[in-house]
Symmetry: C2
Subunit: 83 residues, 2 copies
Amino acid sequence: MKNVIVNVTLKTGVLDPQGKAIQESLNSLGYKEVQQARVGKSIELQVKDGPNLEERIKEMCDKLLANPVIEEYSFVVEEAVQS
Amino acid sequence: MKNVIVNVTLKTGVLDPQGKAIQESLNSLGYKEVQQARVGKSIELQVKDGPNLEERIKEMCDKLLANPVIEEYSFVVEEAVQS
């Protein structure tokens, strides 16, 4: 079993109104040092071992997890810890 | 200037309908190896250097960025790269 952590962020240049709202809220709470905020998603998958794992994760990202027009993604594969 | 990456995830045991939907969609697309999916947020902040940075980031998380009842967070502080 593997843990895959997929990080999806907006491409540079794409407007991020949610991030802007966070930045302005933090500023108005007194945290004036915050210059910019950008919000992304992190998706943690538990995946059974199999062939072509990385290739299949890439496909999942392109088809479902990220919108390649405005988002970019990266992922890391870790051995799942058995408890 | 520092880059702060805050990772907000649902606590273990809290239902994650968005993650469940992702898992089922991936399964029905043929990715049967996906056993579970959980969705979190990653928030990237650009913050001016100042005293008590880590303490202030913790306050921001508790007050605005995460809901401590159902979510947990972690963050890393990096030196911002000048371009």
